[in-house]
Each structure stands twice: as C-alpha cells, then as structure tokens.
Symmetry: C2
C-alpha cells in the first residue's frame, strides 16, 4: 500500500527525513530524489497521445514524482516506453494483471489516460489496490460511474483528482483572481468555444468508448471554465446539437454542440464545441464585466495560453504563458502529489468531475439527445 496516504504534513516531514536516512537501501533507489526525499511513484494507465506525448515527458521536470510503472495492452510499445523512462520490465502491467499493482510498493498513484468509458473501471480497480488516482477528463461516461468512482476512492482512502489541467495554470488562475477581486467589476456574460476537425477512426467517435461527441472531449473545457470563472454552478441550461458532415465520422456521436447557461447570480454563458470546425487550435473564452473584460485565447492548449484584459482601473494586461509543453502536466502532477502528501482534497476532485458529468448530461438532454 502507499506509504503516505494517511499522513499529515508533519508526519510526512518526519517520514521524509526517515526516507532520506534510508536512501541507501536498495529498495528505495527508484524513489530517491536528488535531494534525498522520496518521490511519488506514478503508474501510467494507458499509453496514448496524452500519456506518451505529455504526461510522461512532464515527469522529467517533476520535483515530486517519477514514473515507476506502466499499464498497457501492447507489451512491445510498453517495453519501448519503459526503456525510455527507466521503468523496470517487471513494472509493466497489462489490463489483465492490473490489480497486481496493489503489491507494487513503487506505485503510489495511477494516471488514468484511457478512453473515457474505461476511466471508471480502472479508477475503481486502482482504488481497491490502494493507489491514488489522477484521472483524465472527462471523468467518465455516466453520472452513475462518476458516483461509483468517488465512492470507491473514499472507501479505500485514496485521493481522486480529475485532470482539469487549466485550473492549475497561472493564466487561468489570474483570470479567476481578477474576477474575484473585482478588477473587471460584476461579471455579466461569458462566451467560450473549443473544438477541432477530428480525424476518422479515433476512439472519440465511438459512442461506447467516448460517451458522446465534442462536448465530452473539448466542450468540457468551456463548461468547466465557465464554472471556475464564475465560481457558480449553472442553473438553466439550454442547448442544441447537430451533425453536418455525412462522411462516416459521426455515425455514433454528434459533431457540434451549442449551449447557453444561466448562473444563479444571473451571469449568462454561451458556448459551442465542435469536432468539425477549426477553433484555432486552443479555443477561447471571453468574460465581460461591468468595468472591463478578460479574454483568454488560446485558452486551453498545452502551451501558449494567452490572457489579455482591460481592467476597471484602465490597466491593459497581456500575459503569454512562457512555458512549453509538457510544463502544464508537471504542474498538475506536482499539485496532485502535494495533495496526497498533505492529505488535502484536490481542488478538482471527484465531485468536481461529477458536476461536469451532470451538466454535460443536462446539455445533451436539452439538445434532445440522451443524457449520461
């Protein structure tokens, strides 16, 4: 089981010191940091684009974590990746022997980067194995699954965080701060969009695997942004959905969604998402306040987020994220590890994911589609 999961910060400090003292022991070698502190051992579940292209490279700069295991259905691919990241061969698991991670002391937590419909099962199995879970968004493909994931992680006392990457990025945090401190006055309206022309053959086009179309995959960024920007939960949700292209890509999921939300304060937000159209690579959001505005464009890419704003005092802001991919993944993973180490509930916990599942379900129903 994990070493740190029930520890307070004080406990951890003490244990870190102990770990440092014991750093010469062979079994700790894989978990040492340069400074002598023990690193959080990550097991990557699913070797797809986001794992191999972003999360795993992001571990290179992590001060808190390191890769210690992989789970994949493709042994050859896994061996290759394991070699690249110095993950020992015995730490490569398949979906069949995945539950054996319970006995792997080098694994503190898992990063779930599987197709959406597999998130619930592999999160719950990880929880049963006593491993903390960082799960990619969308959390899963049904409200019921989201609840089951939360319950399993609570029961087995592991942390569950949904990988809402943007909520840990300085530009997005700055936007939230500007709004909360009244720098643009009372927010009135928001617009946001995110999407891309999807290639045929992607699992994202398979309803059973994805749960739905662009709303599940990229529209969720706009939905989530409207929620963290306002700090409110949407009330009235109105929506439309459509499929334009009859080229075989959209036989199972919708191509486009458009929705408008009313928050309790009266703030209105209108959004679109698309698997058919080009949104410039990173989507956008705009926030209109009584005394100024905030725009983020691109808003949701892996690098190059750009915040511009005109504040009530006349200040013009232009903040371009100077970091490069995969820095956002490092930041997010480090945040999660700090939560585990300090026994703190992650900001984007299971409840946060569940709320989006609920609203996505409502959007689909408002558009005349089947809810989640």
């Amino acid at each position: 089981m994990t070493l740190t999961r029930k520890l307070t910060r004080r406990d951890f400090s003490r244990l870190s010191a102990m770990a440092a003292l014991s750093s010469s022991l062979p079994r700790m070698n894989a978990q040492e940091t340069a400074g002598g502190g023990r690193k959080f051992g990550w097991c990557i579940v699913g070797l797809g684009r986001i794992s191999m292209g972003h999360f795993m490279p992001g571990m290179g700069d992590s001060k808190t974590g390191k890769l210690t295991a992989l789970v994949s259905g493709h042994r050859e691919k896994a061996e290759k990746q394991a070699a690249m990241y110095n993950v020992p061969s015995p730490s490569i698991y398949s979906y069949d022997n995945y539950d054996e991670i319970a006995r792997d002391k080098d694994i503190d937590g898992v990063y779930i980067a599987l197709p959406n419909a597999m998130h619930a099962e592999y999160t719950i199995r990880a929880a049963k194995a006593g491993k903390h879970v960082l799960c990619e968004k969308p959390m899963c493909t049904s409200v019921r699954d989201a609840q089951a994931m939360i319950e399993a992680c609570a029961k087995h006392r592991v942390k569950l965080m949904i990988a809402y990457r943007c909520q840990y990025q300085p530009q997005h945090l700055k936007a939230i701060e500007l709004i909360r401190t009244g720098a643009i006055g009372q927010v009135q309206t928001i617009e946001s969009a995110f999407g891309f022309p999807i290639q045929p053959g992607e699992w994202r086009l398979n309803k059973k695997m994805a749960g739905g179309g662009p709303l599940m995959d990229v529209g969720i960024y706009s939905l989530n942004a409207c929620r963290y920007l306002t700090g409110e939960e949407p009330g009235e949700i109105k929506a439309n959905a459509s499929t334009i292209d009859q080229d075989g890509r959209f036989t199972e999921v919708e191509e486009n969604d458009g929705w408008t939300m009313k928050f309790p304060s009266g703030i209105l937000a209108s959004c679109t998402t698309t698997y058919g159209g080009d949104t410039g690579g990173g989507g956008f959001f705009k926030v209109h306040g009584a005394k100024g505005w905030i725009a983020m464009e691109p808003a949701f890419p892996y690098q190059g987020m750009r915040l511009t704003a005109r504040l009530g005092d006349g200040t013009m802001l232009d903040m371009l994220d100077p970091q490069h991919d995969p820095a956002q993944f490092t930041t997010q993973a480090d945040y999660f590890v700090e939560c585990v180490w300090n026994n703190r509930e992650p900001k984007t916990d299971g409840q946060e994911g569940l709320r989006d599942m609920t609203y996505i379900s409502q959007i689909y129903e408002a558009a005349g589609l089947r809810g989640l």
Copy 2:
C-alpha cells in the same frame, strides 16, 4: 413626391441628364452635385447621437445624397444643426407637421433615427408622404409593426431599408465571401457577442420606447451576423435572460441575453448580449469551418473593424478597415440611394428587418420573457 422612385436605371439616366440641363433653375440649387447630377434629398427624422454624430457628418462625403430637411421636437437644436448643414429654416419640421414633408420636393427620403417604438409610425407616415425610408435597426418593437411598415411602403411604392450598416462594409462582405466560396470549408459553429455598460436615464432602458433590452439594440448585430454569415434562417432557438444589477437601470428591460441557434444545415451559433458588461467596444464574431476560421473583432463598431482568418489553403488574413467614422454611414446611405435610383430592392429590406424581429421575439419567449 419623389422624382425617381418609380424609375428604371434607363429612365434615371435620361432624367439625370434633364436635371443637369435644368441645374440653373433656382429651385434645383439645393440639389446640384459638383458634377451637375441631382442629389438625393435626405430628411433626418430624430436628432440623436446616431444622426448628429454619424449619419449627418457622413453626408459630407456622399456622392449621391445631401441633407435637405430635419425633423425634431427641439426647434433650437434643429436650427443649430440646420445652420451647420445649410438646411434652410423652412425645411425644419416638427413631429406635428411631419406629414407636410409630402409637399417638400427637396425631400426624396427619410432617415429614421428615433427611439425604436417610433420607427413604425414615422416610417408609415413617410411612406404616405411618398418618401423612401432608411430606418435604423431594430426595425421596430413588434412583429406586427414590422409587417405594417412593409405594407405601407409597398402600398405607397417607396423603398424601405433597415440600416444594417455592417452588411455594407468590406470586412463583413469579405467574411461572407470567404464562407460562400468555401475558403474555410463547411461552417460548423459561430460565436458572437456585443454589449456595453449602459448609462442610467437612456431611452433604451424604457421598455415602451425600446421594446426590450440589449438584444434589441446590440444583440441584433450578432443575430443578424449569424444569419448573413450562414446565409440561413435559424430553426431551433434556445435562450436565457437575466438582470444582475439592481441599481435602478433595469426595472423595465433585461440586462443580459444568451442564446443558441441551430440553422437548417446544422450550423450552431451561440451568442450573448449585455447592457451590463464591457465587450471591448465593438463586439466580435468567430466562425469555425472544417478547413479554417474567420474572426471579426471588433466586429460592429463605427470604425476599426478587423477581420482575421486562417483559410484552408494556409493563408492568414488580417484586414483592418482603414476608413474612419462616419464612412460607414456614407456607404450605407449611398447604397440606399442607388437602390432607389435603380428601383432595386435593398438587400436589408423590410423583410430582413421583420425576420430579425421574429427571431428576437422567439429568443425572448425562449428565455421566458414576453415576445415582440
């Protein structure tokens, strides 16, 4: 009555020549152009910001028209404006003697720039007086009024155009052209917003005068843009409305509207409009196509419209309108006069205005407010 209203282009050429021949006659003096052709005589109905600040200054560069009369309830203000524009004192009318414009041969048409609720009456009275009508948007405050305006203008054989300024501007025409020629592929989704924090005391906050809140005044730009960009009429319309500020401004009309529309092809558009928030002075729209995108920001201001785009062939466009206010008003007025002279139906005729009235009504009803 007007000289040219039933003329074909050939008739007009002949009459223009006659007018040139008769240019030495005293009664024609006010209607001469530098080149000898007769200019279209404009009667300005309502001396507010848009008349005095934009339309009337715009006449200075008009090749087709000139100011020949004013209608105002404030004699002193009217005298001052008349002096500035060399409009003779007898050509100043009040709302009481407005119908006498019928006998004023120097008036070919009227420009209606009154509060929204007065558009219908003054358009219909102008039609009865045999004068062509360029009426500011929104066309009026009810679907029934819009129909009555169209009928009156048809019956009295005068042209009716709604002043949808943007539909005559190069940037907007370029956006339409790019879409129609497939330069960004099949359009999938659109977002648009326009609004501003309104000052207390404006007639726009009076429900009877304005007909509604920001949707009537500025949201109509986004609505109209979605229609001319797609070339389609919206089917499914979903909406929310809200009032946040309880500072006395919004006792009669709503502060914010958010809506999403589904067009017959499947294109989805999501918009907001606000009287409480800052949209950067000119609003925006973004169009997402299968092969590229178009953005206009600012989209709807009197000057400085900026079109950017990434086309399917990789071309990046950045078109900034080099003209200054009031050039857009000159362009629009000249277009209308050409329609009159050539007996051509204006692109933004009464039917175009009526359609927006109908959709605005539907948006209000979808938001749980009373329709128009």
